[in-house]
């Protein structure tokens, strides 16, 4: 049974690219170390072997030019996938992402199409320190013209990546570094997970937990812990962060009457603020408590594992946050 096949998050990404490239000759990939080496995380492994150096291009270390390569080739009819090794490096390419890719269509009166996918690796948890660990999705979601996905499992990874490639807009696919090795069922055929559609990871009646990327998985562990305490969590993984599936979250809020958003990015100005605001606008009368947010403290990501482990939310801190929304005390406090 092909549905039972298990694949890693990393290989799910790889398969999405590989199968898409087989089906569409206009797709090519470009980035640092992705060709002969297969990418520093191995996500592009073997693609140059199959498709050749014409379609899987090793580029110079030039983030602006890498994204520019994507913008210019997309606007002239190709379907590029360009890789920025670490999400932190979007900052180096910000002009091409924010001022060019996201805006050309609009500035040109709708006459341009930009089927560009930017792939990158986000997230902390590897002692990679402050310049190689960030989750900067809120910055990208703030830019009209961009779409942003941040999958939490291999199935979504493959389906979302295929959707990103097929989408005629600039999309950013964020792979979480700590999830690359996790495995799960991934169908062999070329399927899509639609952009802008949240996934109900766990239905529940007491509280809605909204979380993506690695935080979705940590929230599921937290939900298990809390199930033992008689708390029934509904966990929603938006999967796509822009466009955001507000409707699914609001519907859940109206049912559970309590909402908490969990993200790895710093809390201040994070997406949690936007989601909390939208829930309050659309479900205020249903809420029994303020919408809560869990995120990293307002500091750069620390290097020392002794600090980093307290910096990134985990199942334990998420569980105590959820208890807080329900007005319950956490053990030992």
């Amino acid at each position: 049974m092909s549905d039972e096949r298990s694949l890693s998050y990393m290989m799910a990404f790889n398969e999405a690219v590989r199968q898409s490239m087989r089906a569409d000759e206009t797709i090519f990939c470009a980035g640092e170390d992705i060709g002969a080496f297969g990418g520093v995380f191995g996500t592009y492994g073997g693609l140059q072997k199959e498709f050749g150096a014409r379609r899987v291009v090793d580029t110079p270390i030039s983030e602006q030019a890498i994204v520019g390569l994507g913008v210019g080739s997309a606007v002239t009819g190709l379907r590029p996938i360009v890789d920025l090794m670490f999400m932190d490096f979007i900052c180096v390419a910000m002009d091409q992402i924010v001022n060019q890719a996201a805006k050309l269509k609009y500035m040109f009166g709708g006459k341009a199409t930009l089927p560009l996918t930017i792939t990158t690796a986000g997230g902390a948890g590897l002692s990679a320190a402050a310049q190689h660990s960030q989750s900067l999705e809120a910055i990208l979601c703030h830019i009209p013209g961009l779409k942003v996905v941040y999958p939490s499992n291999p199935y979504d990874m493959k389906g979302l990546m295929v959707s990103c490639i097929r989408d005629d807009n600039p999309t950013v696919m964020v792979k979480h570094k700590r999830l690359l090795g996790i495995s799960g069922p991934v169908p062999e055929d070329l399927y899509t997970v639609p952009l802008g559609q949240a996934n109900m990871l766990r239905p529940g009646k007491d509280v809605t937990v909204v979380a993506w990327g690695r935080m979705a998985n940590e929230s599921m562990v937290a939900a298990e812990i809390l199930a033992g305490e008689g708390i029934d969590c509904e966990v929603i993984d938006p999967r796509t962060l822009q466009p955001f599936d507000t409707a699914t979250v609001v519907e859940s809020a109206r049912k559970t009457n309590r909402v908490i958003v969990v993200h790895e990015a710093v809390r201040f100005g994070g997406l949690g603020a936007e989601i909390a605001s939208q829930v309050q606008e659309e479900a205020f009368d249903f809420l029994d408590a303020p919408v809560a947010r869990i995120g990293a403290p307002f500091s750069p990501v620390p290097f020392s594992p002794a600090l980093e482990k307290h910096y990134v939310p985990d199942a334990k801190s998420i569980a105590s946050g959820i208890r807080g929304v329900l007005g319950r005390k956490s053990p030992g406090r």
């Binding site: 110079p60 030039s62 030019a65 210019g72 500035m107």
Partner: protein, 327 residues
């Protein structure tokens, strides 16, 4: 490559079209009829014309904040150009781009750009498409002397050479970036020195001489079409007006005498004298051409003035390309 009389006339026509468009835009700006910034190309016409005569609509160019000349040289029509400058819905960008983002993808003009230096990486992408498709087309990146001080230019130049792409980097060295002299911001005299660092040929050309630009561009473009890689062309030129707007003399940052010296070398008037000497252009034909194009400009202004502004409901249009989503 000596241009034949048809090419000479074509160069001339393109330059006059640019001049008339820009002079008209300047007048409209003075009359407060154009919202936003206006960076005029007057004085530099030989560069855009000399390069673009060698291109077809299928070739791609990227442009700068000073982009009207590039679009005109690439075949841009006055009506949608004027309408765009006036922010009307009939403009090339439906009034959403304006002077600084004017573009026409059908003509291979991938946009003026408000970010100095940002066009070059995009031209690299277009050149990549041409090579990928093996369609024999090329990309030309136009940019100023000041733009060669920004990282994006260097990344683009290096990547284009590393990937051996069919591209020409066309630098319009007008000796100023905004209000600062070029020699205050770089320690080299010739921009072309930068070519060597990336492994591409570099050529200096008189940017006031349309034929000289044409010949250098013809060679560089043929080189690119033949799969031999990028070239950097440095055209030494000058803008007759201020960085933006229509003042030309009495500016604090450059002496009037300098402007006068360059104006003696007006790329259109000197060229017309040559053409008349060669018997390629008669006084009658010259006058008829200016009259014809002036009428076109007048028509475009009327068209633009009569055109509607975009409706408010256009604000949210074209942020994204709509995708059919299977729920």
């Amino acid at each position: 490559m000596e241009p034949n009389p048809d090419v000479l006339r074509d160069l001339h026509r393109r330059m006059v079209r640019i001049r008339l468009f820009e002079e008209a835009a300047g007048k409209l700006a003075e009359a407060a009829k154009l919202p936003g910034f206006l960076h005029l190309y007057v004085g530099e016409e030989a560069v855009a014309a000399g390069v673009c005569v060698n291109l077809t609509d299928a070739d791609s160019i990227t442009s700068t904040h000073r982009g009207h000349g590039h679009l005109v040289a690439k075949g841009g029509q006055f009506r949608p150009m004027m309408a765009e400058l006036m922010a009307k819905s009939t403009g090339y960008c439906n009034g959403k781009g304006g002077s600084m983002h004017i573009s026409s993808l059908e003509l291979g003009m991938l946009g003026a750009n408000g970010i100095v230096g940002a066009g070059s990486p995009i031209a690299v992408g277009a050149a990549f498409t041409h090579k990928y498709r093996d369609d024999g087309n090329v990309a030309v990146a136009f940019f100023g002397d000041g733009a060669t001080n920004i990282g994006a230019f260097h990344e683009a130049a290096n990547m284009a050479c590393a990937l051996k792409l069919p591209i020409v980097f066309a630098c319009e060295n007008n000796e100023y970036g905004e209000f600062t002299r070029r020699d205050h911001t770089m320690a080299i005299t010739d921009i072309v020195d930068r070519a060597q660092g990336y492994g591409m040929p570099g050529v200096i050309v008189d940017g006031m001489d349309a034929v000289a630009v044409y010949e250098a561009a013809a060679e560089a473009i043929a080189f690119a079409r033949a799969g031999k890689g990028p070239t950097l062309i440095e055209a030494k030129t000058y803008r007759f007006y201020n960085h933006h707007g229509v003042q030309n003399l009495g500016l604090k940052y450059r002496p009037d005498s300098e402007v006068e010296v360059w104006k003696q070398r007006d790329p259109i008037f000197t060229f017309e004298a040559q053409l008349e000497d060669m018997g390629v252009l008669t006084v009658d034909r010259r006058e008829a051409l200016w009259a014809e194009l002036r009428a076109d400009i007048a028509d475009a202004i009327t068209f633009a003035e009569d055109s509607p502004y975009p409706e408010q409901d256009q604000i949210l249009e074209d942020v994204y390309t709509r995708m059919e989503v299977a729920r």
